[in-house]
Symmetry: C2
Subunit: 361 residues, 2 copies
């Protein structure tokens, strides 16, 4: 694999990950652009003891542009996109409208409300990961070799962003489908580097700490072992990975994918685990897409150990979920979920696992 660094016209970093060692990429971005001045901040919510990002400049971002104006396609035929090269395999670049940025610098970060609401610049980084130069495909249709390259890009970005000042957790994810609000249809994912441990990780790691004190065991490893032992919710299994619908799934369609041998983050995966990943992940995505007549909208995300905290308790895994609960019907987060955070799942996890296993591939 060949890795090539360059910068876009406004100074943002761009990194090509090429499968051929003799790939040559166009490194100069001829556009005229001023460097962005991100003004995001994070504010402390005293009621819930959590950080919330406030990122006003994102309101103007690209919204479902026509196909021939896709900013994620390569630059061809005289049209300059976000990627200066006329082709690429996998490419990563800094998001033009970042929620988190190293340069984040709001004018005033004094605490609000007499000290109750500390705030800080939203230090961190947001990157876009393009999975292929082909506008009209999807992750599920990538070759295993390409998925392996994407995995190496995720590993690379996790290492690079973890080393940046103020970064406490790195999150690699993909939103797929207009039904979940995706504003660009070109196959792509994102990486967020947060200046805090995310609320879900904090809650899961607090739970894992209590479990470990009580049992001297790893919570995630025991959940995985119990699901494999039980078997009824297992959707796919390979030599090094296993995927199941969790017993207490929150979403109508939800699968968790774990490496069988515990590692804490993507860079810690062994070569054997990495080589074994494309097959099972592509199988899962194809099972998702095979459930209905149209491709399933989904959100896929990697749960990695925080950069510093609680690495001894962590267990790398990916969650994959959809809000589609039946053909043409979406699960909305209504009062119980969005106000009280109490989830009601209308699809029994055992039935959903059976449906996923039953998809003909």
């Amino acid at each position: 694999m060949k890795k090539t660094h360059a910068h876009l016209a406004d100074g943002r970093e761009i990194i090509y990950f090429d499968e051929s060692d003799d790939a040559q990429r166009v490194l100069v971005d001829p556009r005229h652009m001023e460097p962005g001045a991100p003004t995001s901040e994070v504010r402390y919510d005293a009621v819930l003891d959590e950080w919330v990002a406030v990122a006003g400049q994102r309101q103007g971002r690209a919204f479902l542009p026509p196909r021939d104006e896709c900013p994620l396609c390569p630059s061809r035929d005289g049209r300059q996109s976000e990627v200066p090269s006329p082709d690429y395999d996998v490419v990563v670049f800094e998001n033009k409208s970042p929620s988190f940025a190293q340069a984040a610098a709001p004018g005033d970060v004094s605490p609000l409300d007499g000290g109750l609401v500390p705030r800080h610049p939203a230090f961190g980084r947001c990157e876009v990961v393009l999975f292929t130069s082909d506008h009209d495909t999807s992750f599920a249709q990538l070759s295993p070799e390409r998925v392996r390259t994407v995995l190496e890009a995720w590993v690379d970005r996790t290492l690079a962003l973890s080393a940046l000042p103020h970064v406490e957790q790195v999150f690699c994810f993909e939103n797929r489908g207009e039904e979940i609000g995706v504003t660009l249809s070109h196959p792509h994912g994102q990486v967020y580097a947060y200046p805090f441990v995310t609320p879900r990780s904090r809650q899961a790691l607090d739970s894992a700490r209590r479990y470990s004190r009580r049992t001297f065991r790893n919570l995630f490893a025991d959940v995985l072992a119990a699901e494999l032992e039980e078997g009824t919710r297992v959707v796919a299994e390979s030599r090094h990975w296993a995927a199941f619908v969790p017993a207490a799934a929150r979403w109508p369609l939800e699968v968790h994918l774990y490496p069988k041998e515990r590692v804490v983050d993507l860079p810690s995966l062994s070569d054997a685990q990495r080589d074994d990943f494309p097959g099972i992940y592509l199988e899962l995505l194809r099972r998702f897409d095979g459930l209905y007549d149209t491709p399933t909208p989904y959100i896929a995300g990697w749960h990695q150990a925080p950069v510093r905290a609680d690495r001894d308790l962590s267990y790398l895994h990916l969650t994959l979920h959809s809000i589609r609960r039946a053909p043409g019907k979406l699960k909305y987060l209504a009062g119980s979920e969005s106000v009280m955070w109490a989830f009601v799942n209308d699809v029994p996890p055992e039935a959903q696992a059976a449906a996923l296993r039953g998809v003909a591939l």
Copy 2:
């Protein structure tokens, strides 16, 4: 106010709240219906240390029926709806497809996965609250007198459901608008009685406990006082109530409404607080609806003290939020929010408060 109890054909309870003491309601439901057999259960999610409800039978519920088949309109002209009477003011009845029910009784509630996943029948109750017999109006257009009657119904249901076995928290809420998945357009809300303290309340009360240990003060009262002192995010204020966009709002449009004098739940509100509520709440809803050309979809919910736990830390308040972030644009919960629970708000709270204050009423 006159309160009248009756039962629907399948045994579900129905309660009329009438503004006139001589209102006469038809109490007999002539339909032939078998009693429902709710099979919901709650499952313990060991990873996040939370309960999740699994309610399979809800998949078949009514979905945007045509106007002349509305099950929430009164029974008139030979057509029988869920309300036997030809008219009503406010009426409450048990949900036909409940997520939580006193009769919940799944066949097998033995723990899953070797004890890691305890499960129980989803004891509790789900009720529907009809705000008016007029199909084509909205809460924002109710008379102040009617809002006062709805408030009395919420108080009544909070007291009644808190007394049921296994109920740990009562939640009164309204989902309004097809964009957030509302399946029946007749103006109505719901009441959920949960067999656990909801995750958001648990997190807020844990935060309030830490704050109280550190300061000997009530967290919510201090947040309210700080917002009133700061002023820039206050949207509306009356003699006994105050509403503001929180400094760390998660949603593009979010307002919190507190009584100025602390009470822990709706039944604890004084007569003066109750009388003063319709004016400020109607003002808030009209400000919401005045922001755009079309009525704003919203979710409104009351945060009440749990039935038993942490009542000393609680402070009754209502939250009102919308996922509409601009005309025709919705805020979707994508990777950061739905996977890591890390919210990115694209609308600065101060700007949103100013916009709400600027709505001409």
